[in-house]
């Protein structure tokens, strides 16, 4: 395999921004995630949780609410007072409509999907009609005294619950007038000076309104009489989000301490008809505030200020207990943010607003603004491969400027592309961890690729969490493919036999006297190393040198906003 000198780069100061809202679309099994800097990402949950679409953000478009409506249309609203619709095909913002109510704090779509409701800073609740190409203002509901921070529709579409500061109001949709105004206690069985902010409300079909507030309470109200039924104190800090499942037998809440709680509707005794809401499971997967949660049919999704997106499948809902039922934590971006120029020994880092160019060995920084997309150019400059949202990777002949061929479509999105230097083979990695090799001159899959597909990959290879983000080649050894994801890098040697399911995939690495030298003693093609992690980028500079850009999690956490204090005995 060879010895390499490795440049370990740890100064790429990549800090992702915290997650502000998530919205789950049941029909297409997709998750829309919006962050505090305004970026919106769309994850395809059935394609191995791959981030397939990305809308770069701007501080002026920082979102406070995100929702799916009318099938596959995505809307967001923020503190600049505008409702934005995103074009999912063209990957840009379709339009931004000012709601004229001041900053918008909350937004929800009607159960039928044809209407949109926004809650504004001035206390007004505005109803919009969704037309085929735009949205149109319909009317205002009764104006309240303080800002409307959370909204929820009754599943039948007749009533609305709106959470504000120190109270919750229930509106009738047809007339727009308030039916009940339910006052929330500032502290659980006590008095407090701080106002109680109702961060989330949920309306169930039996008329129960569930509210979560900044005093750490989860409260159940009866909307017919406007009274409090039950109150649970679950945290010492704010409870900031709530999401109810479609069947209304379970819901999840997220707190500022980083814990999420699962509540379920269970019978009181084993054979009684009477049911009650019980707090069943706590999960501590976050260190900072959990500002948003979502409930899909089989999993609990949570995201917050610590920038991780955590998807926790529920054991009782999952049919087959396989690897799919494990916890998924998405921390690192699924796109490549770093590119390397081999001849000049330069590294290009992509930040949100600027680019940094670094020379390996010395330090230089410059800045411009650009855009990135999934492209690959062959080293001799004659072929260009591009993958977009539509199926199939297209290969263009650069010299003649026309389409050469299209790789057959595959139902999982492409995560990485590269063209080998001499053989002009296109190597494609997909989000389900499949790797294909396609010969561009021959316009068909290579022999090696066909053998791999016939035998199938090793099961451990397929169970990797993070997608392959970069592929590169060794200039002198055409049989090697170097690829990496966030936790490992691997050199595939096409000349060696493929591993079967029974052999060990990860081989033990004997330590050498030099820490930068990697050596393997194996007999199969997949040579994997897990030394450098978490890995953002790895590439071959020249024959003897590798560059690895790592981003330790601690460095990211050190730059996050302050978390809630936790008192531990003995400290």
């Amino acid at each position: 395999m060879g010895e390499f000198k490795v440049h370990r780069v740890r100064f790429f100061n990549y800090v992702p921004s915290g997650i502000r809202c998530v919205a789950y679309n049941n029909q297409s099994n997709r998750l829309a995630v919006s962050r505090t800097d305004g970026t919106v990402e769309i994850y395809n949950l059935s394609a191995n949780y791959f981030q397939e679409k990305f809308f770069p953000g701007h501080e002026s478009r920082a979102t406070e609410a995100l929702c799916w409506a009318a099938g596959q249309r995505l809307f967001s609203a923020g503190l600049n007072g505008e409702i934005i619709e995103y074009d999912l095909q063209a990957l840009n913002v379709k339009y931004a409509m000012d709601a004229f109510g001041g900053p918008i704090w909350s937004m929800t779509a009607s159960p039928s999907g044809s209407q949109l409701l926004v809650g504004c800073e001035d206390g007004s609740v505005k109803l919009f009609q969704i037309t085929p190409d735009k949205i149109q203002f319909e009317r205002n509901f009764d104006r309240q005294k303080s800002r409307i921070l959370s909204l929820s529709w009754h599943p039948s579409g007749t009533h609305i619950a709106a959470g504000s500061i120190d109270y919750i109001s229930v509106f009738d949709v047809k007339s727009g007038s308030t039916i009940h105004k339910m006052i929330v206690d500032r502290q659980y069985m006590g008095v407090s000076k701080r106002k109680c902010i109702v961060w989330g409300v949920a309306f169930l079909s039996d008329g129960t309104v569930i509210s979560v507030d900044s005093a750490g309470k989860v409260q159940f109200w009866d909307s017919a009489t406007g009274t409090l039924v039950k109150s649970h104190l679950i945290a010492n800090a704010d409870v900031q989000s709530i999401a109810v499942a479609d069947q209304e037998d379970s819901f999840v809440v997220g707190t500022a301490e980083g814990t999420i709680f699962h509540f379920q509707l269970l019978p009181v005794t084993s054979n009684s008809n009477e049911k009650q809401w019980v707090r069943t499971k706590p999960f501590q997967h976050h260190t900072h505030d959990v500002r948003t949660v979502a409930h899909s049919p089989t999993a609990l999704i949570s995201g917050g200020t610590d920038t991780h997106l955590v998807i926790r499948p529920l054991m009782e809902k999952v049919e087959v207990k396989n690897y799919d039922a494990a916890l998924r934590k998405i921390t690192f971006p699924h796109r490549r943010l770093i590119s390397c120029s081999k001849k000049r020994q330069l590294l290009l880092f992509q930040f949100t607003h600027h680019l940094e160019l670094w020379r390996l060995g010395s330090t230089v920084a410059t800045g411009t603004v650009e855009a990135m997309c999934l492209l690959a150019v062959s080293p001799d400059g004659s072929w260009l491969a591009a993958s977009g949202t539509s199926a199939g990777v297209r290969v263009y002949n650069v010299k003649q400027l026309k389409l050469h061929c299209t790789v057959p479509a595959y139902n999982f999105p492409v995560t990485a592309l590269a063209i080998a230097p001499d053989t002009n083979n296109l190597v494609i990695a997909h989000s389900d961890q499949q790797v294909f090799e396609y010969s561009i001159p021959d316009k068909q899959y290579t022999e090696w690729s066909r053998t791999v597909q016939k035998q199938g990959f090793h099961h451990l290879w397929l169970q990797r969490d993070t997608p392959i983000t970069h592929i590169s080649f060794h200039p002198k050894r055409p049989m090697h493919i170097l690829l990496h994801d966030a936790y490992m890098f691997c050199i595939i040697d096409k000349s060696l036999p493929l591993p079967s399911d029974k052999t060990l995939l990860y081989n033990p690495l004997p330590p050498m006297n030099e820490s930068d030298v990697v050596r393997r003693r194996t007999a199969h093609a997949f040579k994997i190393s897990k030394i450098y992690k978490p890995l953002l980028f790895l590439d071959l500079l020249d024959e003897r040198t590798l560059v690895a850009v790592e981003r330790p999690l601690d460095d990211i956490i050190a730059q996050l906003p302050p978390p809630i204090k936790k008192k531990k005995f003995g400290t």
Binding site: F100, P562, G570
Partner: protein, 252 residues
């Protein structure tokens, strides 16, 4: 009809006359004269008789002879004078007001756009009146807060000049919007990180685990690299200067 009686002029005159005669008596007379002088505002004529009464005590001379005609003439003169002053005052006031009005008109003219553009606007508006009506209606539906009228202005400008494409924005609206947005951001920052919330630093949070280990370790960010930056910079500069000095002196 206003009749102005020159009563005030009489009273001081009588006081002066009496002062010449003698001190104590004159004071009395002065008081008397004055007292008599004031309430006589109702009487139209002959305050001279009081004077005559006062004078009688001091000298036996005959009182001044004033015929009725002369007194009448004097009174008429007085009246005429007064009327004149009033008329003059009125005309002066009128002039002032006139000048003010002209000034205002001029200022208003300056504020409005020059005539050419106004003409263009009026002619263009006549052309597409119908579209405006529809737009206005729509806009009135949308915005009822009062900013609607301003938005209508913006709409008008947009559709008139179709050769040039620009959008007119009221800066006042933008300021209001920014201030509202800032207030909203301040609210959320205050409610999450403000006083009363139980927040701690990331360093302390990550170091909790270190403190509870069987072998206690240091905090996650033990060194504070930002401490004393100015001091360190000064020390660096001093060192450099000192080195230069040391290098220079042996050469001498």
């Amino acid at each position: 009809m206003v009749q102005l009686r020159p009563r005030a002029s009489r009273a001081p005159a009588s006081a002066e006359a009496m002062v010449d005669e003698g001190q104590p008596a004159s004071e009395e007379e002065a008081e008397h004269g004055l007292l008599l002088g004031q309430p006589s505002s109702g009487a139209a004529a002959e305050p001279l008789e009081e004077d005559e009464e006062g004078d009688d005590e001091f000298d036996d001379e005959a009182p001044e002879e004033l015929t009725f005609a002369s007194a009448q003439a004097e009174a008429r003169e007085e009246e005429r004078r007064v009327r004149e002053t009033v008329r003059r005052d009125k005309t002066l006031l009128k002039e002032k007001r006139k000048r003010r009005e002209e000034l205002f008109i001029e200022q208003k003219k300056r504020k409005l756009l020059p005539d050419t553009i106004l003409e263009k606007l009026t002619t263009a508006s006549q052309k597409c009146n119908l579209i405006f009506l529809v737009n206005l209606q729509k806009k009135n539906e949308d915005c009822e807060k009062g900013s609607g009228s301003k938005k209508v202005k913006v709409q008008k400008v947009q559709s008139i000049s179709q050769n040039k494409s620009y959008v007119a924005l009221r800066l006042k609206d933008q300021d209001l919007r920014d201030s509202r947005q800032q207030a909203a951001q301040a609210f959320i920052h205050n409610s999450l990180y403000g006083p009363g919330t139980n927040r701690t630093t990331v360093n302390k949070f990550l170091s909790l685990a270190n403190k509870r280990l069987p072998v206690k370790k240091a905090a996650a960010q033990f060194l504070n690299n930002a401490w004393g930056t100015q001091k360190k910079q000064n020390a660096k500069k001093f060192k450099r200067r000192w080195m230069l000095r040391r290098m220079k002196t042996p050469k001498k």
